[in-house]
């Protein structure tokens, strides 16, 4: 599951990373956002959306995406 701040919500963590990049010689990088990734093994992948809605993400402030491998 990839969980990221919703578009339009100020993401100071992403901004801090973005501001640090020019000092390291990385130019031309914008719109940095920091989220998190949750890896798990599930017997019933059907319920992962519910799991994200109820616990892993806060739908008010975060979007999530489920990738099945």
């Amino acid at each position: 599951m990839l969980i990221r701040p919703k578009e339009g919500i100020l993401d100071p963590q992403g901004k801090a990373v973005e501001r640090a990049l020019p000092a390291l010689g990385f130019e031309g990088i914008e719109q940095v956002h920091v989220g998190r990734m949750v890896e798990l093994e599930a017997e019933d992948p059907e319920r992962l959306g519910e799991l994200c809605e109820k616990l892993l993400a806060n739908p008010l402030i975060e979007d999530y995406e489920i990738q099945t491998l």
Partner: protein
């Protein structure tokens, strides 16, 4: 009024909350997070700290504790519930209060005395604040509704909003008014020894709201 103060692994302000409840009401007791027993209790404080290590998101795991199930029931029945700092985060995660608390805008943990404005009468309260994730957020339409419904309890006075909270919001209530959450710590401001007793007025406010 008899208060219960919840105690999660990682809580750290439960002792001061207990002391404040004793100063305000007729007694208080600590309730361990695994207990659902709120018998004989009139109101509940969800205290500050770092419940369950604040893993995932602040307050996200505490909301699933047995004690919080009991708090949700008590709140639905009209009992006063006060969430302070991490407690505010827990109540938002539990859906008992609107909105969410995000990382402070400057990413720093801030610890200082703040002035709050009581939105009912404009009174100023001087209360300590200490948090890293206190930036109140709600979508614009929800903020408009909160203003229209009188659910904004406290705002940071001009120059005191150091976490970047939307519309300077420091504390909100639910629609009914019996659940109140705020980031600053009224339980640390109940004794002249520590510089202010304004915190007791927050407890008073909640007691009046359910009287």
């Amino acid at each position: 009024m008899i208060w219960a103060v919840l105690h999660f692994p990682g809580s750290c302000d439960e002792r001061d909350a207990l002391h404040a409840c004793e100063a305000h009401g007729d007694g208080a007791q600590l309730i361990w997070h695994e207990s659902r027993d709120l018998d004989g209790v009139d109101g509940v404080v969800v205290p500050g700290g770092f419940s369950y290590g604040d893993y995932l998101r602040a307050g996200a795991i505490a909301r699933f504790s047995p004690a919080m199930e009991a708090v949700a029931e008590a709140a639905a029945g009209g009992a006063p519930v006060l969430g302070i700092c991490n407690g505010f985060q827990v109540l938002c995660e539990a859906g008992l209060l609107p909105g969410a608390l995000l990382r402070n805008v400057e990413l720093r943990f801030r610890c200082h005395q703040v002035d709050l404005v009581d939105e009912r009468d404009g009174a100023l309260l001087s209360i300590p604040a200490k948090h890293g994730e206190g930036r109140y957020y709600a979508p614009e339409a929800m903020l408009d509704d909160l203003e229209a419904n009188g659910q904004i309890a406290y705002r940071y006075a001009e120059g005191h909003n150091s976490n970047g909270s939307a519309r300077d919001i420091a504390g909100v209530t639910n629609e009914r008014g019996n659940v109140l959450g705020l980031m600053p710590h009224p339980e640390h401001a109940v004794d002249p020894l520590t510089g202010s007793t304004d915190g007791l007025r927050v407890f008073d406010r909640l007691a009046q709201a359910v009287a």
